[in-house]
Symmetry: D2
Subunit: 410 residues, 4 copies
């Protein structure tokens, strides 16, 4: 089903050649100021054609709020949003090579097998335009998280091909043990990331190395993958459900639902498998912590972890430290080179894509990763609001049971 979330729920619709793409956001808190201006910036950031390195197509993705707000304020009712498609007509069949061949590593074949009907664009909802609804919904969630808790979400390109921003080393098989990396993710912001367009890798040196790689693959009519790292700061303690819906499990689900993704790792990740437990464990220290809650900020002593190999989540539940994770994107399947492959009717042939193609989609994935992050945290936050609000109305327990004081939502 095309639905994400239980409390802050997004349902999307639309493929490449229909009238519009869009979504319905249900469960948005009422009483929040919201207009298209809050949403459009992320829509624009995900558009292709922002530099010579990416595809020159120029889509104009103007979002229109249909419902759920009045006088620029959310009503608490479902927010309908649509973005018109420029090219609204399905293509005719039978005229093109694409009608004869399922494109390798595209979704043409699996969609036909799954649905029994062939969409004119081949892979139907596997189109990148499907992500428009996610980004629109994510922008709303993100605004709420920022206003209520000062949550900050920043994604950036961390590798292209084998060029990394923080390459693994013998000393640091995972950047999670590298203080420079931990420092970096505490400070990086979205403007800095965007100043490194087209790569969105916020480092002069690494961006230059990545640009070279992308140009190399572009010039060879080939493509290359890469990774995006995302950090979520100021997440309240206590988000995430034990067992099946651990916070990292929902993040993994959300990220692997983005087209072209092949992997997800949180905190120390795969490299963390090579680190001794005695190093990997994050010991606690007491610290004075500033917390924003609604319109007020307060400071109090709290337990925090000295290191952050956990990536901000322990036992599936946020611990207040920055949550960070990395997502692998495969090389784009559409390449200019001729490809030997079989046709739908089992013939052998050669498929050659026309026009210019994006040699590396990783920079464009940045706002999509941020949007999905916002949706995951927002849903977990509202789940915890329900529980914590319920708890605060219960009578105090006898002193024999160890408890945390009832202090309202974390």
């Amino acid at each position: 089903m095309s639905t994400w979330g239980e409390y802050f729920r997004v349902t999307t619709y639309g493929e490449s050649h229909c009238r519009s793409v869009g979504c319905i956001v249900d469960g948005c808190p009422p009483g929040m100021e919201l207009t298209e201006d809050d949403i459009q910036p992320q829509m624009t950031r995900r558009r292709p054609g922002q530099s010579a390195l990416t595809t020159p197509r120029n889509e104009k993705d103007r979002v229109e709020i249909q419902s759920g707000t009045e006088f620029g304020v959310t009503l608490g009712t479902p927010i309908g949003m649509i973005v018109r498609n420029e090219d609204q007509r399905p293509k005719d069949y039978g005229n093109k090579t694409m009608d004869l061949f399922p494109r390798p590593s595209h979704a043409d074949f699996t969609y036909l097998e799954k649905y029994g009907v062939k969409a004119s664009s081949g892979g139907g909802r596997s189109s990148a335009r499907e992500t428009i609804g996610r980004v629109a919904a994510g922008a709303i969630a993100e605004k709420y998280l920022r206003l209520s808790h000062g949550v900050e979400i920043v994604a950036f390109v961390s590798s292209v091909g084998n060029e990394h921003l923080f390459p693994p080393t013998v000393e640091h098989p995972t950047p999670s043990t590298n203080p420079a990396f931990l420092d970096f993710i505490e400070k990086i912001d979205r403007n800095t990331v965007d100043s490194f367009v087209p790569t969105r890798c916020p480092s002069e040196d690494a961006a230059a190395r990545m640009t070279k790689i992308i140009e190399h693959f572009r010039d060879n009519n080939d493509s290359i993958g890469g990774t995006v790292t995302c950090v979520i700061r100021n997440v309240p303690v206590g988000l995430g459900e034990p067992c099946f819906d651990k916070l990292e499990a929902k993040l993994a689900h959300a990220m692997l639902s983005i087209p072209a993704t092949k992997g997800f790792e949180i905190g120390s990740g795969f490299g963390g498998c090579e680190v001794p437990g005695s190093t990997h464990n994050d010991p606690f220290i007491a610290a004075e912590v500033e917390t924003k809650l609604g319109s007020t900020s307060s400071s109090a002593q709290r337990l925090v972890t000295k290191t952050n190999n956990s990536g901000g989540i322990q036992g599936g539940i946020s611990n207040g430290a920055s949550i960070y994770f990395r997502i692998a994107f495969k090389p784009p399947a559409t390449i200019g080179q001729a490809q030997q492959t079989a046709s739908y009717d089992f013939g052998d042939g050669v498929l050659e894509a026309k026009g210019r193609h994006d040699p590396c989609v990783v920079p464009r994935a940045v706002p999509i990763v941020e949007a999905m992050s916002a949706l995951v945290v927002m849903d977990a936050l509202m789940a915890q609001y329900a529980r914590e609000s319920a708890r605060t109305l219960l009578p105090p327990l006898p002193k024999t049971i160890p408890t945390r004081p009832t202090t309202g939502t974390n």
Copy 2:
């Protein structure tokens, strides 16, 4: 919520020191022969204490079916299953170091913050005993998948620390481009894996290298992580929902919900980011394919992929090739070494775990990974059954629309 799945739905309960742990499986197809004997083997495989390398505790996890079957046949009604806890009494508070300190990289701190009440075992549902219900439910799903489609699910240990079964090389930054690996995952079976207890890494050489590492960390009162690779063979084409519930996204969700996991990669994974698109794309070829459907097997020409960097999934939908993925497990948090950390009341102190502890949990994770795999595929299969059955009752379409013939469920 402690629920997995929409069609084949598992709800689990229980922590370490309550009367029992267990689950309810709702949506199991009626008319399948099923007794405890179908479930117990995987329960036993996940038990600790199977070798000198793992912890010597010996739990007796006998599953008891409460409902949903009669005369050894499923009725289609919910299947209740319980496993009694040996130690049913919560521990007294206030007598132990553990009551003063949240254990580093355990869930003690986050559980207390989330729920406001401290379970006697610290992390409540984060206990490894929580996985018992999953394994029981997974065994039922697995039996159905085997009977109906000949699905085979095999997981094995693919690395411990920095010792790998298929180490990344310059030529093969991901094993997905290595024919030896692809051949290996087509042939590996569960008996072979178990013959390599205690490591469950099915290679003399690699198992020996891993054993050394585990012994080293055991002798140092330390711990080490590792990875598990899982392959699912004979999955029908067409499983997985586009957009948010892509098959790989559900697998990622399922795997990251297993305690102590830090990463997931499917097909080429993170290494695939370094492979050119021209290599990474999986071209189609026509092949004669044998398909088991219910009690019959048939052979027909079909499109299959020549390579399998996709890991058996394209556009979120299974393509008939073997699905394989890898999961990262962090080093266990409980270690014998003394750890400097803060107490609940912000004091500084030293925490030292008593007794023997598992230096590496990866071998025990094998049946849990298999169980979660079965639950994901089963749920996706039933979703597709609903859609495909509905489609087959529609009138044939005019020839102008490209369609797949109506052939019943894939």
Copy 3:
């Protein structure tokens, strides 16, 4: 949440004064011919202003499919649908009596309390325009049910005020024991119902009596309620989930979610409480039954019930007999008479509605009842498809267990 259904899932959006109202239908079977022409007739039937008896406003509710079809065929992907609002601007505040007083028995008060923000139309989503998305979605479900199983859904007005089509008598405290009623619901069709516009009560005599009542209340600036009876014919045996999601429970949920409803009864209903069990029980007889399944019809001997006090459902599961139920609609809350009531700031005052108002909404509810019926049956059908398809792939059971032969979906 504004979502209905698990398998065939509808999510709606929109209130009275926003840009558009609409819905997303997810899970529609692929390969079905579908255009706006399949949907518009029911949209038009629910429009007000179809006669002198109902309100003279004339909305033009043209549905536009946004996605999910190509060349008039469903793709299996989400179907977005929108209907533009004529009056797209929220009203200014502070100028009208309605801004000072919560209207009695409207949702103004409860919406403000629930959301904390006042929609300009008062009750936000409680507007009758909210039902537009339901009717659009229901038309799609209904088309599928008709094509695949020959399902027929017909609703009609069965009472207005105390004038009934089948009034309760001492002999028949419920019409379910009345052969004339059972005969009537087997034959009634939508054209006949519509030929009795404006009352939609398909009986010369009863319609005349009802018209008099409605005119009486109209002339007194007052309003009156009534009931709608709905019959669903040719529902396959076996739909509905035991326990919480019994088919009648879902129907009750669906019907009570329609604005202004106060009651639901199925089969013998409330009157059935007065009938002895020996009369109420529906004995079985063997009969030759014609069944449409996809493009074919077949005839076979089957068990059917001789009477139908059950209303086509036993133990929460359809038994193949016609499903029929009745829904109570209260008198419309908006009346021309002056009403003494309190203002938001606790003052006492008089509220008087301007303009003409619908004295009885029951005739307009007919297509909405049909739409919700279709959504309930469609969802139950797909749930059963998933289970039944799964069952048919299992090996035959030993003869010692009583089973129904594996015959594909019922």
Copy 4:
């Protein structure tokens, strides 16, 4: 699926002849004192055999909490509960009439058609024992509602056959316009209801009339139906979701999921169709209202309705007035009289039930109705907690938008 609720979620299992019946309650607020003693009273109230009027079987339904509490306090984790079946063995097949005939108006036929496998008890989960899990879960919800908001839930028998506690009259076609009825439901309590065992109709006169009817049908080996009325007092304002999940729609769903129910009406109900809108509308008045919230009670002026034809819900959302509704139960299908009916293999025959049977189940339904009521309100309350908590953290809006002050959960 055997699951109820999104926030406070109950999953049940078990049929008549398996090891146990039970449930898992997920989402219970942590930190509430809870032991079996809080649950057993309602379990005992639903047991048969409490008087000469009901069946003499005597089941001992002792509930055992398996998990989710420690030292008598909820942990916030899933609460597993089981009740052992006395008769744990499925019956042998082929020896009894019941194996040859599907019992009229039972679920034997529909279960066999749905699942394809025959449970030894015939209707599988349609057994009354299935309600045990509901009652256990409802008792937990009820305790929370009482502790946090002083919610009171009382159900009672309002009619048996055609004998009513408040019979419809020309003046009052619905009791909702009768001040005596409204006064009655404000005062009735559970002890008073139970003092009228076996009828549970709290009126000397009506109880006597009903007893006569029940005795009459018992003596004729026949059965008779009746209605239960339930009132829920002190429900906070603002519960219930607009559109599909209106509070009355969820109540209708919950009540029609109880075995043997045929109808539901809220507030004025079916009788309300005959009342003019000018009478039916509930005008507002300002009143001093006492509200319990957690451990404190406070008094404030608030808008309340002068009458209560709405039954405490407007636009699908609770308005603070008492919620009351009525449920129709059909006459029990098992009767001592011989019944002419068809066998599974289409033969004609006579079915005669052995032993004593319950001539009227309505009194036993009382605690089940209360349990389902508690589950509905609890789920709606937690949904509103999530929303309201989220809203309170947003910055104040400009004065130009009409809003309710941010006051924490209603």
